[in-house]
Symmetry: C2
Subunit: 75 residues, 2 copies
């Protein structure tokens, strides 16, 4: 059974940002897919599908590793 | 003797865009250095230092290869 987690991320402006965030999130154990609804200049919505529950901390750390900030844990 | 060429490029929004454009321009034969003054959401200024004169066509092609557009051949 898969779990879907949605977070709001600021500062993403282009497809390269999408790639950077997606790569970091996909590296989390259990993550199956990452979808980004890019809103350049605003708040982007990132949806993560995983085989187990993800903690806000591990998502926040992965996004920060890519250089961006989770601004809300529900989009 | 080095030549400096300055062009205006649209659509660059972040450091990843700067890297992409710089890499393509640095791959042109004779290019020694590339400096980008990023103006996210506007027109960025790209300064290219080279050991020989560069044609607008080869600069335009390299920028397009990275996915962006030269909007003026002088910044």
């Amino acid at each position: 059974m898969s779990t879907t987690t949605t977070v709001s991320v600021s500062g993403m402006t282009c497809g390269h940002c999408v790639s950077a965030v997606s790569e970091e999130l996909e590296a989390i154990d259990g993550v199956e897919a990452v979808a980004v609804d890019l809103n350049a200049g605003g708040i982007s919505t990132v949806t993560i599908t995983s085989g187990k529950e993800l903690s806000p901390a591990e998502i926040g750390e992965a996004v920060a590793e890519a250089g961006y900030l989770v601004v809300a844990n529900e989009a």
